[in-house]
């Protein structure tokens, strides 16, 4: 067995893909975006509720995709919950470096430990987009995905 395949599809990743955390709709979402990978047709919707301090009070995702994209989305929601948008951006930068096999100096030791299971993806350049889809969608949600006041009122 190719060791890099074992590295890519290790148990933690398969577990996240089979039992994704924070999966489902978020009724009180303040921000929302849909990500789409036209290469494979995978879709992911990221919904989050930002509080007044710009902190991710709640986050959920929905979608269908490969094991890598599902696991990455699931792990992302776990890691981003409770962080501010600024902290999330920093984490995302570190993650993007990691999956591309570049130095991820800006990751804290704790974050690095959590994300290390995803580092195997750097051996599979054709699959990096699968891993980054949810993260880019999160960024789009924050930057451009503010839900309308009406929607929020309706959801409340």
């Amino acid at each position: 067995m190719d060791p890099s395949l074992r590295e890519l599809y290790q148990e933690v990743i398969l577990d996240h893909s089979r039992h994704p955390r924070h999966f489902g709709a978020l009724d009180n979402a303040t921000h929302k975006a849909e990500g789409y990978n036209p290469l494979c047709g995978d879709r992911v919707t990221v919904m989050l509720a930002l509080d007044e301090q710009g902190r991710v009070a709640d986050i959920k995702f929905q979608g269908k995709g490969c094991a890598i994209s599902q696991a990455s989305a699931s792990m992302m929601t776990e890691l981003l919950a409770g962080r501010t948008v600024v902290e999330a951006e920093k984490l995302m930068e570190g993650f993007l470096h990691l999956v591309k096999g570049e130095k991820a100096a800006d990751l804290s030791p704790d974050d690095r430990e959590h994300l290390d299971v995803m580092s195997g993806i750097s051996e599979f350049p054709m699959r990096v987009k699968c891993a980054t889809l949810a993260w880019h969608t999160f960024r789009n949600a924050v930057e451009e995905g503010e839900t309308s006041a009406d929607a929020k009122a309706g959801a409340a």
């Binding site: 190719d2 494979c40 995709g65 490969c66 094991a67 890598i68």
Partner: protein, 414 residues
């Protein structure tokens, strides 16, 4: 479309494999098992050498200079056109328009033939198994001219019901645009019947031959087809070249496509007149070396016993189906009688991209995704499939490698 039954000697696959240099290489330390010829086929040495030889000894621009090489290059380019004519059994060489591929050939028909004939509400009939090249050019006519796309469904086994096609052709139909062979299902459409039904109602037919041209033996005169579009790189030729066959009577009525050099008769400050077909549709410097390469690929194919090649590819498909029966977690999509050597499948609980990644590390190259055929994916309720497509250089051992790699994928992901 099949050749008359005859006793054919078994196709010598090892001899053919030796013609394709890339098959000697390894990937990840494993022998290359290339099952993605439906996306693009590998090139035999005869093609690569023909292109090099031409570029090294006879190359210049075509139809322009009076110098020696301009003449040799023009001769080679026009000889390539005659080779395409022969490959398709077209009546005349000026019914062959060189394009940069199948996509451009279909866009040419959409823009130059059909657009001027479309009134709002006019219909274009197509099947749900078209790939995007034979969908999007017609969407353009829907968006810009109010054309209506009439979709013909396929049966659950992927076969096409000729009566459903017939029923879709009405007094409003301006064109039937249909694949010759589905790039996902492998379904070979009954072109001759479709054309007869359409012509009975005065409707022309375009066939997308991107897959069909390599697997089927073509005779555009026997088919009486109006337009046949295909690409070079799927018939073991180079990229950047394809062709449109169109009946002379149609070509003469068609407006120019791209404007530029080569396609004009005369240009003044106030006026322009256009060259006769096919030059009218070949603006600018064409892909000259690629035309020579595509012709070499056609010569290569025509030198083989094509009925034997077809039987060989069919054997690979049958063998693969047989071996896959052990995998009850795998669903094959497309099982039409007489289908071509394309095998699409969905694996339970495993996404096509994960499957393809694991197969890749075993040296097995397949396509994974929606295959640029999203309406068909929707029809079968899947977002993506894995696809193994067989070519003349594949052998049963390639199927064995695919099966072993799929078992490995199941072990890792299942």
């Amino acid at each position: 479309m099949t050749a008359p039954a005859k006793i054919v000697p078994a196709f010598d696959v090892e001899k053919a494999r030796a013609d394709f240099p890339i098959l000697a290489r390894q990937v990840y330390g494993k022998p290359l098992v290339y099952l993605d010829s439906g996306a693009s086929a590998q090139k035999p040495r005869a093609v690569l050498e023909a292109m090099t030889r031409f570029a090294e000894s006879d190359y210049a621009n075509v139809h322009r200079g009076v110098h020696y090489l301009s003449a040799t290059a023009t001769d080679a380019y026009e000889a390539a056109r005659r080779t395409v004519q022969k490959f398709l059994n077209a009546a005349r060489e000026d019914e062959i328009v060189f394009t940069k591929g199948g996509t451009e050939a279909i866009n040419l028909v959409s823009y130059s033939f059909l657009a001027p004939r479309i009134q709002p509400g006019d219909e274009i009939v197509l099947s749900v198994m078209e790939h995007h090249s034979n969908i999007v050019p017609w969407h353009f006519l829907r968006e810009r001219h109010g054309a209506v796309l009439r979709w013909v469904d396929v049966r659950d086994d992927g076969s096409l019901d000729i009566e459903a096609v017939d029923a879709a052709i009405t007094a409003k139909t301006k064109l039937v645009a249909i694949t010759h062979m589905s790039n996902v299902l492998g379904t070979v459409t009954p072109l001759k019947d479709i054309i007869a039904r359409a012509h009975a109602k005065g409707v022309p037919v375009l066939a997308d031959g991107c897959q069909g041209a390599v697997h089927e033996i073509l005779d555009v005169q026997a088919l009486d087809i109006d337009f046949y579009a295909f690409t070079g790189h799927k018939i073991y030729g180079p990229t950047g070249i394809g062709a449109l066959y169109a009946k002379r009577a149609h070509l003469k009525t068609m407006r120019p496509f791209n404007g530029g050099g080569e396609m004009i008769r005369e240009v003044t400050r106030d006026l322009v007149t256009y060259a006769d077909p096919p030059a009218r549709f070949e603006a600018g410097t064409p892909p000259i070396i690629e035309a020579v390469g595509m012709a070499a690929a056609m010569d290569y194919l025509m030198d083989l016993d094509r009925a034997a090649v077809k039987a060989h590819e069919h054997d690979l498909l049958t063998y693969a189906r047989e071996r896959l029966k052990d995998f009850n977690w795998l669903r094959v999509i497309g099982d039409a009688p007489g289908k071509g050597a394309i095998l699409s499948f969905e694996a339970e609980g495993m996404h096509a991209h994960d499957v393809a990644t694991i197969l890749d590390r075993e040296g097995v190259a397949v396509r994974a995704g929606h295959h640029c055929a999203q309406p068909l994916m929707e029809r079968f309720g899947v977002t993506s499939t894995s696809r193994a497509s067989f070519a003349l250089y594949n052998k049963r051992a390639d199927v064995d490698a695919l099966i072993a790699a799929l078992a490995k994928a199941r072990e890792i992901l299942g």
